[in-house]
């Protein structure tokens, strides 16, 4: 029986306390005070929907064989490319085989995550695929002093679907599709445009989600009381509660909408909430998950015994726990390019990414794949042709060697105020890997004052360049110093 084999999540490290937005912007639009509870997750300046999706995908695939994936589906409304498969970047970052894989983007709608999930399950049930990874991610830009700025958070989550070692069996789905428009983002526009809140709440979330869930129950003959957790997004907390009341769901069985701890992560949100629910689930629990956007998809899962021995991913809770308060509203607005702060003349140079070079080195750049000398065993990054070990010097004797997941240690570093950076100083250094190999990497998610020689690092896929002239986004890996353990 097909179902969920693994889940993973990624909530970016920065949290913005909503009262900070109020303190800065309530003079302009006081209504934001009404929803100023808690904090929202905020992507760092070098993150976007694709980079966060890679983090969630790696979390989901930890302990699993990435080579066995038949495809990667990516769901998002904030993809960096309109024409270029964004899921292909994630597949390359995961270093999965190219031959035999079918990757796809599911876009343009907040419920595309569940649509992608149903498509993956259909493919598996039709025996056209064995393992499909579905990743949902969003990083939506909002105007300053708006309700959306208060509601939206950034994040990603991933689900691995397959037939072996299923931790939650798929029990069926039902969809309602209608051209209900509560908000939209026209092609080429930066921000969402919304209709009035009452329309969104009462005719949107408040009607369509109950209609779809009722339809699902009617189709399957299940009862709402069968479900240990019912999971559906709705950032209007009152409406979220009213939907449960309407459907007769016990409040204890409603999955929290996470407004106060991370905000609504858009296309990712049904997956983020489902991943959080799976972290608490027991064998036999039935989970009902619904999405919202031009209709609603409803999917049911039943948790299996395998959940007891399931381990590997860090999931949503650990990601939520790894947080730092972004106690500077201006910094947030600069990260989102909402204010014009001079990057300096050094920041003016934009390099036209060589697509031929990128293709030739795609494993190195996206997958952080180096080479291991077959003669002396020395790992290399970047991959070489002649072995760097002076006692070896083998020529063309290399096999692929993945650096992602290897423990690294800071050998030397600096914080550079001269380098053009959205978040100065630019911190970077030489990192040596356990088992061999070393290279120079930019650091991210760190405070220079806490970085030390000898400190461990983790690797993270990040946005490297945004070429506004040509509309190209480039990616590479950065090192995140692990603040504990430095000497």
């Amino acid at each position: 029986m097909a179902g969920i084999v693994s889940y993973g999540g990624y909530i970016p490290r920065y949290r913005l306390n909503r009262m900070l937005i109020v303190q800065n912007m309530a003079w302009y639009f006081p209504v934001i005070m009404a929803v100023a509870q808690g904090e929202k997750a905020v992507a760092n300046w070098d993150e976007d929907a694709v980079s966060m999706a890679v983090a969630a995908a790696y979390d989901c695939m930890s302990g699993k064989d990435r080579k066995k994936l038949d495809g990667v589906y990516l769901a998002s409304t904030t993809l960096p490319f309109d024409d270029r498969l964004n899921a292909g970047v994630i597949a390359a970052a995961l270093n999965i085989p190219e031959a035999g894989a079918m990757n796809a983007d599911f876009a343009s709608c907040l419920k595309s995550c569940t649509t992608a999930a149903v498509s993956a399950l259909d493919a598996i049930n039709a025996e056209k695929a064995n393992n499909v990874l579905v990743v949902a991610s969003d990083q939506r830009r909002t105007k300053m002093a708006t309700m959306l700025e208060m509601f939206y958070g950034d994040g990603a989550a991933a689900l691995l679907f397959g037939k072996d070692n299923v931790i939650a069996e798929f029990k069926g789905s039902y969809s309602v599709s209608c051209d209900f428009v509560d908000h939209y983002r026209g092609s080429g526009k930066e921000f969402d445009y919304t209709w009035e809140e009452r329309w969104m709440r009462d005719e949107g979330y408040g009607k369509i989600i109950p209609q779809a869930i009722a339809g699902f129950l009617k189709k399957t003959g299940m009862a709402i009381t069968d479900f240990a957790k019912v999971i559906y997004p709705c950032y209007f907390t009152g409406t979220h509660r009213d939907i449960a009341k309407k459907l007769g769901i016990d409040p204890s069985r409603v999955q929290d909408n996470m407004h106060a701890i991370c905000g609504d992560t858009g296309t990712a949100h049904p997956f983020v909430m489902l991943a959080a629910a799976l972290e608490d689930a027991k064998p036999g629990d039935k989970l009902l998950v619904a999405s919202f956007g031009q209709g609603c998809d409803v999917l049911a899962f039943e948790v299996t015994d395998k959940i007891k021995s399931f381990k590997g991913p860090k999931g949503i809770k650990a990601s939520l726990a790894n947080k730092v308060d972004l106690n500077n509203y201006q910094k947030f607005t600069k990260f989102r390019d909402l204010i014009v702060a001079d990057l300096g003349i050094r920041g003016e140079a934009t390099i036209n990414t060589s697509l031929t070079t990128l293709w030739r080195h795609r494993k190195m750049i996206f997958g952080l794949v180096g080479g291991k000398c077959k003669k002396c065993g020395t790992p290399h990054f970047p991959p070489s042709i002649i072995c760097v070990n002076p006692d070896c010097g083998a020529v063309n004797e290399f096999e692929d060697y993945e650096f992602v997941g290897k423990q690294g240690k800071i050998l030397m570093f600096t914080g550079d105020m001269l380098a053009a950076s959205v978040d100065p100083p630019a911190v970077y250094g030489l990192v040596g890997f356990d088992g061999g190999g070393r290279t120079l990497l930019d650091f991210t998610d760190c405070d220079l004052n806490q970085v030390k020689v000898g400190m461990q690092v983790k690797l993270s896929f990040r946005k490297r360049c945004t070429d506004k002239t040509r509309g190209f986004t480039g990616y590479f890996w950065k090192a995140i110093p692990q603040i504990e353990g430095g000497k």
């Binding site: 050094r346 760097v388 570093f413 550079d416 001269l418 380098a419 950076s421 100083p425 290279t439 590479f476």
Partner: protein
């Protein structure tokens, strides 16, 4: 068996422009300024120059590509002119080309000229490399600047020897204080103002732990040399002939950045200096080297270089520096002319500018900066970054010594 370069080539003449923010002069004017002094000093006619080498690094913002800018600006006689670029070793590379050409017997008289016009870009520091760093490098290399690249060395050095960064900062500060004191005495230097240790330590951070005064100036300038055989120099009536004792170059092969390295020394400098002493017949550099001009692009570079030149023991450079060993009145005066710190670093010119000071000192023409009876003068350049670099070393002295 190669016999090395010692005493095979003599310096016939040298010239050096005033270094600084030469807002009103282009690279052509700078070259002519250095060349006119040089040719007058050599006492020959321009037509006697048979081959030339031009060093310039950032051709994109300076003279443009090829050696034509030197040939055309100086109106050379349709001779062979070659442009060389090897990061900060470029100037010494031009010198090496001219010296080897004469030593080979292919030419009697050759010219080496270096120039860089850095102050035409509108900002401080060196120009951004942009896509000129190589298309693949531009896809992954760290967002690194020159000060940041070298600043990392301070963290590696402090960690290796278990030193408090404050102590390293203090020793680095002395490096800069000493060079500024020397620069005051040099009319051709860009920065001619003494600074105190307190000023250096209080300066704004550029790249941790390097502050503003840990970084060399950014200037325009040109320097050049005309070389020939000692015999021709003699026949032209030259007395007190200054000859080349050693000329070495060493480049990283990727070991430091990709394999194994302590992050606290320059592999290349260590090797090039060892070879240079052998070539020059120097046994104990701490006793025999009379003076040096080393690549103090950043104070930490100079500090660490003292160990790789095998003059300070490993881990002991801060002590020697703080004891005044490298001051103008110390045992081995370093940066007697003010160094890159006060001259700035017009890349193509720097190596030749360093040789110019050694040349003046050996002839007793260094004015207020004159060192008593110098024998061997060493110059050193370090281009690139600590983890991947080009190092050049030259040693000059009196012919026959």
């Amino acid at each position: 068996m190669a016999s090395g370069i010692r005493d095979k080539v003599a310096i016939l003449g040298m010239g050096c422009s005033k270094f600084g923010e030469r807002w009103n002069d282009g690279p052509e004017a700078l070259m002519v300024e250095a060349f006119q002094e040089c040719i007058a000093d050599a006492g020959i006619d321009k037509k006697q120059i048979q081959a030339a080498w031009l060093a310039t690094c950032f051709d994109e913002v300076g003279v443009g590509k090829s050696a034509l800018p030197a040939s055309m600006t100086l109106r050379l006689s349709n001779i062979a002119v070659t442009r060389v670029e090897n990061f900060c070793a470029s100037g010494t590379e031009a010198f090496r080309g001219a010296v080897y050409a004469v030593a080979s017997g292919a030419y009697d008289i050759a010219l080496a000229i270096g120039v860089e016009k850095l102050k035409d870009i509108g900002y401080g520091g060196l120009p951004e490399f942009g896509s000129t760093m190589g298309l693949l490098n531009s896809l992954w290399f760290a967002n690194m600047t020159a000060p940041g690249g070298f600043a990392m060395l301070a963290s590696g050095y402090a960690a290796k020897y278990g030193l408090d960064m404050q102590l390293v900062k203090k020793a680095m500060a002395h490096v800069s204080v000493k060079s500024h004191a020397n620069g005051v005495l040099n009319p051709k230097a860009h920065l001619r103002k003494a600074v105190t240790e307190e000023q250096v330590l209080a300066a704004p951070m550029i790249a941790y732990p390097l502050g503003l005064f840990d970084c060399c100036g950014v200037s325009d300038g040109s320097a050049c040399a005309i070389v020939t055989t000692p015999e021709i120099a003699k026949s032209l009536g030259k007395k007190n002939i200054i000859s080349v004792k050693a000329l070495q170059l060493s480049l990283s092969n990727g070991t430091e950045i990709a394999y194994d390295w302590d992050g606290a020394h320059f592999v290349t400098t260590s090797k090039a200096s060892t070879e240079a002493y052998k070539e020059a017949g120097i046994k104990d550099p701490r006793k025999e080297i009379s003076m040096m001009e080393v690549h103090d692009c950043f104070s930490i570079t100079e500090l660490v270089t003292m160990e790789d030149l095998h003059i300070s023991e490993r881990g002991k450079a801060p002590e020697d520096i703080l004891n005044g060993f490298y001051d103008r009145d110390g045992k081995v005066p370093c940066q007697v002319d003010g160094g890159l710190k006060c001259f700035g670093h017009p890349i193509g010119a720097s190596g030749l500018r360093m040789l110019y000071e050694m040349y003046l000192q050996l002839q007793g023409k260094a004015g207020d900066r004159q060192i008593k009876n110098p024998r061997f003068g060493l110059t050193h350049n370090l281009g690139g970054f600590p983890m991947m670099n080009v190092c050049s070393i030259a040693i000059v002295g009196n012919y026959g010594d």
